[in-house]
Amino acid sequence: MSLDKATVSHIAKLARIKLADDRQDVLADELNSILGWVEQLSAVDTGDTPPLANVTGHDLPEREDVVNDGDIAARVLANAPDPIDAFFAVPKVIE
């Protein structure tokens, strides 16, 4: 299988990365090289082997459903590029 420029453009849109036109060609080649290489996994007979997502050997615990911090708005906003009052500001979404 092979990725074309339109597919690269679509993935970049999904990933929210603006790609210049000439970068799309370069990336199509690079991604095809990587995907062609990982394609070799299709030769492995995985039968009914379950997918492995957790190597810890324990089930992930849930914490108590309680409020255990708060009143830290200033810390939360400390790194915001454009804070307004106690909010993160972004370009206008609704006209």
């Binding site: 929210r16 991604l31 290489w37 394609e39 790194n79 370009p91």
Partner: protein, 495 residues
């Protein structure tokens, strides 16, 4: 006594306890070494004032007779660990200006054990790389040079390249790194120092900027195996803030260093004799087998049949997890923002300007393998192969106590002559990546020099939670190798 910048952690602790010098003097010596070796670019941020204040506090604890295990020992911190009030970059443009308001659990535990932070060390952007060439803050230079081309600058490996180069250069007594596919062990090997990746879940990931969450694990980079044991004991332990951190008891790793490996069974995986393994690395591996045999271990040939599929598996799973983890960098809550006419365009402009080429490549691969129609064919398939790779190790460990392999297929390459093809670059992690997929602990120990005078490492792999055996075998290798070479670009010159 050795120069202050040539001491191991354990030796320095003895001297500090005996009052031979102060923690402030030890820290000043390392800050001077950082200045002297600044050309290596191992540090992104140096925290000299804070280091001296931490050292002074350590001297007070020493005087009061309540010095914890790492009291007064100055170390470097990979700039992927969030540090309260100290800029944290992940070596990425997209985190411009980011100053965490909290401290990672692992670094906090080190400060609680008395260690002193010298600064934040350079890395591949978001820990994605094997050469440190992808840092927004520039390449790191390996303090070693080839004997046949002494003018050529070499890479330190990656992604914890600055952490390893600093220890090799004498500008940190030790450092912490993170290892997702080999990022502690591979640079340790290429810099002639020790690098340990603990069992997945041994150290908390809380406060470490995430790359691939099911693979990431923090580990120490040190001058000796005993130092690695000391540091791991301070870093490890359960943390309620990381649900994957394990409620396992933390043994006394230093006590495990008995030097006695008689009767231990050491596996040698046939499949690791791959194409691309240089003749001198294979020779060193055979020498390592002889060392362990001479020390009374029994060497057993084992098979890990899925080995050749480990890297392709990793290069599906790691980018997939990265594409999800890095979705948070969008110009809204921290770091860089590049304006656009709409919210969407602001996201796209910010991420285009903020992420470097390799990070963009991996986000795009990850997005693709997780996208509708490809999820089962790529991501789900890779997770199944991952299970089979883990099963290979579980089977192998029924018959052996540890496994010996080389750490890397070859020595460090030139900064100006890296592999051009991304896939060729990925192959540098061929011997290390399997452990991350299986969640196993492993150590790289400097074992010899290449024909051109560059360090090479051997790797010991252990059962889950059995860092003790990994360290014990690692120390036997260290003793047998007697590796006393020092990098030519080390602070204060070659010993």
């Amino acid at each position: 006594m050795d120069k202050l910048t040539d001491l191991s952690l354990t030796a320095a602790r003895r001297h500090l306890a005996a009052g031979d010098f102060t923690a402030v003097e030890l820290t000043e010596a390392h800050l001077a070494a950082i200045q002297e070796t600044a050309g290596l670019n191992a540090y992104i941020t140096v925290t000299a004032d804070a280091a001296l204040a931490m050292a002074a506090a350590a001297d007070q604890r020493e005087a009061a007779g309540n010095a914890p295990a790492m009291n007064g020992l100055p170390i470097g911190v990979k700039d992927l660990f969030c540090t309260n009030g100290v800029a944290t970059t992940a070596a990425s443009h997209i985190l411009d200006g980011f100053v965490p308001t909290y401290e990672s659990t692992v670094s906090q535990q080190l400060w609680d054990h008395g260690a002193v932070m010298l600064g934040k060390t350079n890395l591949d952007e978001f820990a994605m790389g094997s050469s440190n060439l992808s840092s927004y803050y520039g390449a790191v230079e390996n303090p070693w040079r080839r004997t046949d081309k002494p003018e050529e600058k070499l890479v330190p490996g990656g992604s914890s390249g600055g952490s390893a180069a600093a220890v090799a250069a004498g500008s940190a007594m030790a450092s912490i790194g993170t290892d997702t596919g080999g990022s502690v062990r591979q640079p340790a090997a290429l810099n002639g120092v020790v690098g340990l990746k603990p069992t997945y879940g041994r150290c908390s990931r809380w406060g470490i900027i995430a790359f691939a969450s099911s693979l990431d694990q923090a580990g120490p980079i040190t001058q000796t195996v005993a130092d690695a044991a000391l540091m791991l004991g301070c870093m490890a332990g359960h943390d309620a803030k990381d649900s994957t951190s394990a409620a396992q008891p933390v043994p006394d790793f230093s006590a495990a260093l008995s030097g006695d490996i008689r009767g231990l069974k050491i596996g040698i995986p046939t499949e690791y004799r791959v194409a691309g393994l240089s003749a001198e690395v294979e020779k060193l591996w055979n020498t390592g087998i002889d060392w362990l045999t001479s020390a009374g271990a029994e060497v057993v040939d084992i098979s890990l049949p899925l080995t050749s599929y480990a890297l392709p598996t990793y290069y599906i799973i790691a980018p997939a997890e990265a594409s999800s983890n890095l979705a948070r960098y969008d110009g809204v809550r921290y770091g860089l923002r590049v304006d656009g006419d709409s919210l969407e365009e602001m996201y796209e402009n910010t991420r285009a300007a903020g992420f470097g080429d390799e990070v963009q490549r991996r986000i795009l691969v990850g997005t693709y393998v997780l996208s509708a129609g490809y999820y089962d064919a790529y991501y789900r398939k890779a997770q199944r192969v991952r299970q089979l790779i883990r099963n290979d190790f579980i089977d192998a460990f029924k018959g052996v106590d540890a496994i010996l392999t080389p750490t890397t297929p070859s020595a460090a390459f030139g900064i100006d002559s890296p592999p051009l093809d991304p896939v060729e670059m990925y192959l540098l992690d061929i011997f290390t990546v399997t452990l991350n997929l299986a969640g196993l602990p492993g150590i790289s120990v400097p074992a010899g020099l290449s024909q051109h005078g560059l360090p090479l490492g051997l790797q010991v792999i252990g059962r889950p939670w059995d860092e003790a055996t990994v360290l014990r075998v690692g120390e036997v290798l260290e003793t047998a190798a007697g590796f006393s070479h020092r990098a030519g670009q080390r602070a204060g010159g070659k010993r």
